[in-house]
Amino acid sequence: MKSARTMLGLMLLAATLAAAPARAGDTPEPAPPAPPCDVPAYLLTSESSLPKVTDAVKANQPLNVLVVGSRSSTIPGNEASAYPATLQAALKEAFPAATIDLSVELQAKSTAEETAGALVKLVEAKKPTLVIWQTGTVDAMRAIDPDDFRTAINEGVVALRGAGADVVLVNLQYSPRTETMISAPPYLDNIKVVAQQHDVPLFDRFAIMKQWSDAGYFDLFSTAHGVDLAKKVHACLGRALAKFVIDAAHLGPVQQN
């Protein structure tokens, strides 16, 4: 009956393992309850800077922001609640004296390569101070070669910089439901590499949303939500992105209004 004892041992082991997290979950958190969608400071700071944004705000010039992204940069039918709108609101709140213009350019089904080709024209037309480029989802879904993906972002960033705009990169959403179907890691890694190479601030949307999911602020797994969850998540994303931009532009003190 050696194997029966083995099984018993395993079950005991399993019970201990299962009990450990349960205990961890039960212990009351020492800190007071965090406000919803709190983000750890390290995800909202960047070593890279946004000199054009800094100058514009300091010189009281209008801050012209262009968001370029795929469908996850909007909520179908509720554009006013999507993160670009909340970003604009949060920036206005932080710099009441400044004019903040924000436009959104959706490239719903374009890969980074396709978008990169269109960027220069967009920038010439709108003359933004800051381009927020959300990318990666379409490439991950189409399983584009990560090397090609990296090259495309690389070219896009160089073109944007060359056209005189600051750039912030935004990566994929954390989407636990489609984790078995979309492989995000190669794309997350490659965006990070480009951001490091060009000293571009990278807003790690994936890590932030994962943090919220793990912390239980949002149940991103569940199917039972209507547009409400999307609105809440986007509101939080917009605020976090505003903080991130303000930090990267070294406009910190203003932010603590």
Binding site: M141, T223, A230
Partner: protein
Amino acid sequence: MSSIADPIAGSPVAEAKAEAKVAAAAPAITLPATGERELRLDLFRGLALWLIFIDHLPTNLLTWLTIRNYGFSDATEIFIFISGYTAAFVYGRAMLEGGFVIATARILRRVWQIYVAHVFLFTIFLAEISYVATSFENPLYSEEMGIMDFLKQPDVTIVQALLLRFRPVNMDVLPLYIVLMLFLPLILWLMKWKPDVTLGLSVLLYALTWQFDLYLSAYPNGFWAFNPFAWQLLFVFGAWCALGGARRMSRILSSNITMWICIVYLVAAFFVTLTWYVPQLGHIMPKVIEQWMYPINKTDLDVLRFAHFLALAALTVRFLPRDWPGLKSRWLRPLILCGQHSLEIFCLGVFLAFAGHFVLAEVSGGAALHALISVCGILIMCGMAWIISWYKHSADKGASKKGADGNADLAGGGA
């Protein structure tokens, strides 16, 4: 216990052709003479299976136990290497004793089994995502749900899946294994001639892959997530070790210099990995090194990953002797059993990972539930391994004498 000493010529086909071919077998390669099963291989293959299962689930507490968090390589490397090792061990013997045709025939039968297993998993996958596609309406993820578009063309999708070109995430290992096994007869035939040249050719192919960016395309677009042109290196290296290479390397392996190089490399890799998980440490890393090193390419088996695996393997061989009594202990028994039935347990692991995703999606639960699902999965895998070995050794005993299929589980080659 089926051992590698089982008579290979047990199958009638083998007996018929064996005589003709035996003479052709020039022993350029050597196989260990003993019939003792190498339990270390089973142990680590079992471990790799557990880790692959955990890595396929959403991140949870147990994820922190998997080796990919502590260095560059992960369970896939262990798995492919051991697969190459055991496959060469079993079919190399068949080739020496039965000849090329016999060995090829047996390898192809194995390939067929793995293929069927892959198709079986694919049907389960289809069921899972069809369910998700019909039940999931979340405006937050309207873009990501576009991935279900292939369901609109089931005819094309299914045919592409049968051609191994449509491979959902987490189902990449079996197609890689199928391709590697298909080339095993050629590899073994070359090894029989000159093992070192074979390994050299494999390294050359690996280098060419990096130089000329060779890859296999996938459906609907993209490429194979595990590039067979690159990953063959681990498989062939495993085969080379099994056919005498490991013994010839024993002096290098037991030298202290090797040990310290391995330790230094593993520690360095550990610190690099640490900066991924503790981003506050990120600024310690010199930018020059970051730019040189990243991205660490899993698709093409980055040299850093391969070296990391070699270092791990060298230390393991050094500090875990083949006759370590712990290998017989009942605490490691579940791991070893899983490793001995690797194809079945691998498939079960993929299935359980799907099932785990499903449960997590339906029942909102915290960290505790996530960890519980991982533990249950591992228990189910152990239970299944135990049942399979019971079938092999008790239930089937009267029905079929140990023969060709007695070997299949070692050759289980472990998908």
